[in-house]
């Protein structure tokens, strides 16, 4: 087996046993990136020599007994909307094509403090707006299982890199499903933590009340290890939750006996691809055989989650993206007549179509005369959606369902139909609206060999139960495979 095929925990064991060095592992991934990433398009920047230099420094620390974290010496790649000091961070946009952050995001700093080795920045939909990574200014990313198909989005580069063994693990961000949907399309493990569990300081903001950074990993054990690193209260993020964070690796227990799992019937009805439905129902049977109590229930507000989501996220995005004015950083137009025109030209030339569309929608929803009818209404519906989940969690420990209505579709198929693209988020957006944690694990493949992901939704700050169910499912099935590329 090649080093690049191993998981974080396997590599960590080898490092501790002094069987392999951080430099060998880093070089293994860098060589593979050079060989195949031109086909996948998952990386926007690769650190090359700098990564090897850093791996050498980390190895020296390991040799002295100073680097003992389970992530020490392990290569990681970050979605390109997470600030890394001195390393270009573009958000896959012309607007930030040459932006070099003067600071590290809190998660970047935590990874560095744990002596992980950052090897590159990953492709995404521009400013995290999209579900296919086709909205990247630079290039589309492709699904390693079928290069003519999308990896999903907006963390498409992150999911593709993990699926193709181009990194040991990755970080992505999830505002409406952007970690979970690509994880499902690419057959990897992906988690959106509870809102507030992972600091947003240094995450380029899209929708401040919905965004969360989370791991994409090769298995559930790795997911727990990464969560231990990135969660935690952060005084630099005023929305960061000041609660106790457990050791998530303690949740990796092969046992779901007595667990109450609810399956929303609205998630399993019309619009769901029959092969995806079958894979999810088969997963339910597996969990039932292992002692979980599974039953269907109704989550009646499901159909209102998408309109609420698009209003809330676009409104917040229009506000967050107002900072891109060509003055202090980012793209500035070359020709303009006066200050107002400088703003307008820079923004019009710097932003892509989908970004402009959402800014327009958000600005409209917040504008005088429309604020109550649209934005405020969406926030009221948000209250109702959250209440729906709170009521469900009085009966159930975990809510289970599909992640996306289909498997990966072909590039170009949906990019010109924004509403159709938005409807693909039906199972993921309500989780962001309610601020709950969501875990996706592979649960099958369709007739074309494309991965299907099972989504598990938990109570706020109960990532541990999700990890336990995910780990149990993984230990008792054989869907955890990597793309043959």
């Amino acid at each position: 087996m090649e080093l690049y095929e191993l998981t974080v925990h396997q590599l960590s064991d080898l490092i501790k046993e002094k069987k392999v060095s951080a430099v060998e592992i880093t070089k293994s991934y860098l060589d593979r990136i050079e060989k195949i990433d031109s086909k996948v398009g998952s990386y926007l920047s690769v650190l090359g020599e700098d990564a090897v230099k850093r791996a050498t420094e980390v190895q020296e620390k390991i040799d002295k007994g100073e680097a003992k974290s389970p992530l020490s010496g392990i290569p990681v790649a970050l979605k390109d909307n997470i600030c890394t000091e001195g390393i270009k961070t573009t958000c896959a946009s012309k607007m930030l094509h040459n932006f070099i952050p003067p600071y590290n995001a809190t998660v970047s700093k935590k990874l560095l403090d744990d002596d992980a080795v950052i090897i590159g920045k990953l492709n995404m939909d521009e400013f995290a707006m999209g579900g296919s990574t086709e909205n990247s200014y630079f290039k589309s990313a492709r699904n390693p299982w079928d290069l003519e198909r999308v990896p999903g989005g907006s963390s498409g580069g992150s999911a593709a890199a993990v699926a193709a063994n181009l990194t040991a693990f990755a970080l992505g961000s999830d505002t409406g499903g952007s970690i979970r949907q690509p994880a499902s399309f690419c057959g990897v493990v992906g988690m959106k933590p509870t809102y507030g569990a992972v600091s947003r300081f240094g995450l380029v903001a899209f929708a401040s009340s919905l965004d969360q950074i989370g791991p994409l990993t090769k298995d559930v054990t790795d997911c727990a290890i990464v969560l231990n690193c990135i969660t935690g209260h952060d005084p630099m993020d005023s929305t960061s939750a000041n609660v106790e964070y457990p050791d998530y690796t303690k949740a990796l227990v092969n046992d779901v006996k007595g667990l109450k799992i609810g399956i929303p019937k609205e998630y399993m009805g019309e619009g769901l691809n029959p092969e995806v439905r079958k894979a999810v129902l088969d997963a339910v049977e597996v969990l039932k055989k292992l002692g979980a109590q599974c039953e269907e229930f109704s989550l009646p507000l499901t159909e209102y989650a998408i309109p609420a989501y698009y209003l809330i996220s676009s409104a917040e995005a229009s506000s967050n993206l107002a900072r891109y004015d060509g003055i202090k950083y980012g793209y500035r137009a070359e020709k303009f007549t006066d200050l107002l025109d400088l703003y307008k030209q820079s923004r019009s030339e710097g932003f892509g179509t989908e970004v402009k569309r959402r800014i327009m929608l958000g600005t409209y929803a917040l504008s005088s005369g429309y604020y109550d009818a649209y934005y405020k209404k969406a926030l009221q519906v948000r209250t109702l959606i959250k209440q729906g989940f709170d009521e469900a969690f009085e009966k159930y420990d975990v809510i289970l369902g599909p992640t996306a209505p289909t498997t990966a579709y072909k590039l170009g198929e949906k990019v010109n139909n924004p509403l159709e693209m938005y409807l693909g988020d039906i199972y993921t957006v309500s989780v962001n609206i309610a601020g709950l944690p969501g875990l996706v694990v592979p649960c099958g493949f369709d007739g074309n060999g494309l991965p299907i992901g099972l989504q598990l939704i938990g109570k706020a700050f109960d990532e541990s139960t999700l990890l336990r169910v995910g780990f149990t499912f993984e230990q008792n099935t054989d869907y955890n495979k990597k793309a043959r590329i």
Binding site: A241, P307, T353
Partner: protein, 95 residues
């Protein structure tokens, strides 16, 4: 709600965007479609419902008002599209 070209031009100005005629036409149709879809929310009775803008009940997260060194100037100017004499260079604003 009917979205017209005037609506688009007004919103584009608020959003500080210059749109081509083609972009305006596409946006009229896209926004029309999206806005009539989100009108679905009116099926729900929200008359006594409080809006939720943040899911965690946190408020007033302050830090001590202590002065600390800020970023070095060169770091801040490093990403500037145009700078001179330690300042960001911008077009003339005041006549």
């Amino acid at each position: 709600m009917k979205i017209t070209k005037e609506t688009i031009e007004h919103v584009a100005n608020l959003a500080r965007l210059n749109l081509t005629e083609e972009e305006k036409a596409t946006l009229v149709s896209d926004m029309e479609q999206i806005i009539s879809y989100v009108d679905k929310l009116n099926e729900l009775d929200t008359s006594n419902v409080k809006p939720t803008d943040h899911v965690i009940p946190i408020s007033n997260v302050f830090r001590e008002d202590k002065a600390e060194p800020s970023f070095p100037r060169e770091k801040i100017l490093a990403n500037a599209p145009s700078s001179e004499d330690g300042c960001f260079k911008v077009p003339k604003i005041v006549e």
